[in-house]
Symmetry: C2
């Protein structure tokens, strides 16, 4: 049984250890590429399944476009290529031949999407066009961490085209709201939602909105983004349509995505020194049964009892661990490490009394319940755990938020710990850069509310409030 | 309305046209890479969903391994690299830097899988290990065709390790049987199933089994493969386990896969001069409703009637086409092109009589049915279509099979048309090559039955029978 570094001692070490120890993922020999193991991939499958339904509810259809993007496409949109060039991985050879034109492995698919859309769109009747793809993307990162920042990652990228700016703005918001609701309802993670500063927006976008979670170490994690791309891309790729009056117009594109990074957020928002804590709505195993016996006679009885229990709980994602080479105590630790929301302990005494010991992963709460209550109680407790995790996370975000009027105070405090700060900002890139250089914290998003005040750095009058945090 | 080249005139042209006209896929600007459009991707999603369940029923868990394979891995297994080298695409640059070691884009993942398994396996208790991944793979093909042979394609690759050869053999057969059953039950395509010749097996495998469909032009299409990899790969990648007696053993790996190529098979096994014919079990749209009206008053009535129809048929994948810019006749053609199994026509007269006109795509059969019968009849007819398509395909394969004892006769006949030939073969690569060079037909698989006879080419005595066909 491995013991994890306590979060309070070294959160980063804890994270790396828990990802590997819980069997979620591992490093590969290729720099920054990860191996997603069955337990980690099951989390991604659950995310995909739920999200895919929600995406389709927005009237979006799935497609698949090529992994390769010709260099000439990528270079078409100047801002875009500037943002992505340092991270692009290039194919230059096939078989034993040099390629005539280098091919980028997609870091994102805007360029190849728009090149395609130009052929699909001619009239206002073809709009809105809404597609999505689930795929792998590659960005050559210098510093990588499992799930959070990997050279190759899995994601979903939605791409839409609209006849008007208003419709595009609505789509940007609808996609982000979908992400927020998913993260709240399934991952039990609360997020801040808002617009990014100019310097933090997607390369080539008109504006970027994001949802930001606060991890248990007080750092922010961007958990989903949604971009309005203005008309630049559409013009660059010559996408046009005839409106109802027969005059030529340029459509308004949006794009939005979530990735395997969400798994990193899930881990860091809920986990504790014992390991993962997975919300029941997303957990690959919702209930684990640990049978306890001392001799064959007891084992036979427990087996029969366990069969009845499994039948009773067949609606849940359930696992029973009969491994004879491991003790019950070892198994308790193992499934706590794996973050299974609910543990049922079943020993000879329980069998005689027709009871089951039920242990919650979120708060360690332990109760003996009658077999007859098993189904209803399990359902109710899983629901409670889901709710409780979100509640704890909400309180955590609320408690981590602090307000500052004095830059020196802020610098001092943020030098000593991580938290979320709400401050006034004049909007200048100079002040933004200064905060970043002085404190390593960055502007995460604009706050929804405005209020007269002075920029924390330069004291210029402004109504704009922004959230600052160190971020992953 | 586009008119397709008749199959009898030019099957290949028909295929290319129907893929594009039905909105399944299109060419991209990158050589041999395709754009899978929503209607085509919906087919792939249906295939994935069903197949994923069946794979999991075999006790296989999903994982995700890196897209990139270091050159040194790929070179470890000599046969393997020899087979794949001409098709491998290489990444040599990231950002503006040359990589120290070239990275192959996976053409298949055996090497990276085995490298990983070596870390996962130590005892017999870790076996069998059964994983699968859904991903993209890249093989730089000189001659490409949408779905059938593309530079990048989507597939599923299962990889397992077993303690004994017997278990591995059973797994190879179980995976292939799963594919056969899927292709029969869902794609309504009958297949031959058997072992490949030495020269046609997977590069590095001990043996390869495949399922082969016969397309409507008489050519064969390999629709799924399953490989026993002997122990070479395992030895090369140093995978070992301690057996129950504590002695070190080498495990037995298998791998097996199906790809987006299945969509090509689906098209060519059933389609006709009007377009696709999709089996109901896999069709993205099972029933299309074409409302017919002449004026607003009629339209209102039809709308109300259609709402009742849709409610009645909500269990099916259903679409109603209200497009006012297209005539009912245009729509009939359009959904025939798209291969929708069942068309319902609903006009003012039908509304008055509370009837619906039901038209089958497979045989054009047209019947008027009462609204009250709608649900049951639709279900029954869809079932009949599914059954009928498989029956037709089975008869087609049976009729396309011919036996030959004289090589000159065979050469002459196969020079004039495409069919499936059952012949005796001595097993020599010389005779196999000669058939290939003389006739373009290849040995698809060994027949299940053996019978004394003489090799079609060299007349040597043999019991082995093989199937020959020109193939995609």
């Amino acid at each position: 049984m491995s013991t994890l570094t306590p979060q309070s001692k070294d959160f980063s070490a804890w994270y790396n250890e828990v990802v590997i120890a819980a069997g979620l993922a591992d490093y590969s020999d290729v720099k920054g590429c990860m191996i997603i193991k069955p337990y980690g991939y099951a989390l991604w499958e659950n995310i995909q399944k739920i999200m895919d339904e929600k995406i389709k509810e927005l009237g979006v259809e799935n497609v698949y476009l090529p992994l390769f993007i010709p260099e000439s496409y990528l270079k078409k949109e100047a801002e875009h290529v500037k943002g992505f060039a340092p991270e692009v991985v290039w194919v230059t050879e096939a078989g034993d031949k040099k390629l005539e034109e280098k091919l980028a492995i997609r870091p994102t698919s805007e360029t190849v999407m728009y090149r395609t859309f130009a052929k699909w769109i001619s009239s206002y009747r073809d709009l809105p066009l809404k597609v999505n793809q689930w795929c792998n993307v590659v960005r050559w990162e210098m510093r990588t961490r499992l799930f959070l920042r990997t050279t190759e990652f899995l994601w979903q990228e939605g791409h839409t085209l609209h006849a008007t700016k208003e419709e595009a703005d609505e789509m940007v918001e609808a996609a982000l709201t979908m992400y927020q609701k998913f993260v709240n309802d399934y991952l039990a993670v609360d997020v801040l939602k808002g617009i990014k500063s100019e310097s933090e927006k997607f390369a080539g976008a008109s504006y970027t909105k994001s949802i930001e979670g606060i991890m248990k170490d007080g750092k922010a994690l961007q958990m989903g983004t949604s971009h309005s791309l203005g008309q630049n891309f559409a013009k660059t790729f010559d996408i046009k349509f005839l409106d109802k009056n027969g005059s030529e117009q340029t459509p308004w594109p949006t794009s939005w995505g979530i990735s395997t990074r969400l798994i990193g957020g899930l881990i860091m928002a809920h986990g504790d020194d014992k390991g993962l804590i997975l919300p029941p709505a997303i957990a690959p195993i919702q209930i684990v049964i640990i049978p306890i016996w001392k001799n064959e006679q007891e084992k036979e009885k427990i087996k029969k009892y366990a069969e009845r229990i499994i039948k009773e709980l067949k609606k849940f994602k359930i696992k029973i661990d009969w491994d004879e080479t491991k003790s019950p105590g070892w198994k308790f630790n193992e499934y706590e490490l794996k973050g299974v929301p609910l543990r049922l302990e079943v020993g000879p005494k329980d069998e005689i009394e027709q009871k089951v010991i039920l242990v919650r992963r979120d708060n360690g709460g332990k109760t003996a319940i009658d077999f007859n209550e098993l189904k209803n109680k399990s359902k109710a407790v899983l629901k409670k755990i889901q709710k409780n995790l979100l509640k704890i996370n909400k309180e955590f975000i609320r408690n981590s938020e602090r307000k500052f009027n004095n830059y020196n105070d802020y610098k001092k405090e943020i030098g000593e710990s991580n938290f979320l700060a709400l401050i006034h900002w004049c909007g200048s890139i100079k002040c933004e850069e200064q905060i970043k250089n002085d404190t390593k914290a960055t502007i995460r998003i604009y706050a929804k509310n405005k209020r007269p005040g002075k920029c924390l750095v330069c004291s210029q009058k402004t109504n704009d409030l922004v959230y600052l945090a160190k971020a992953y």
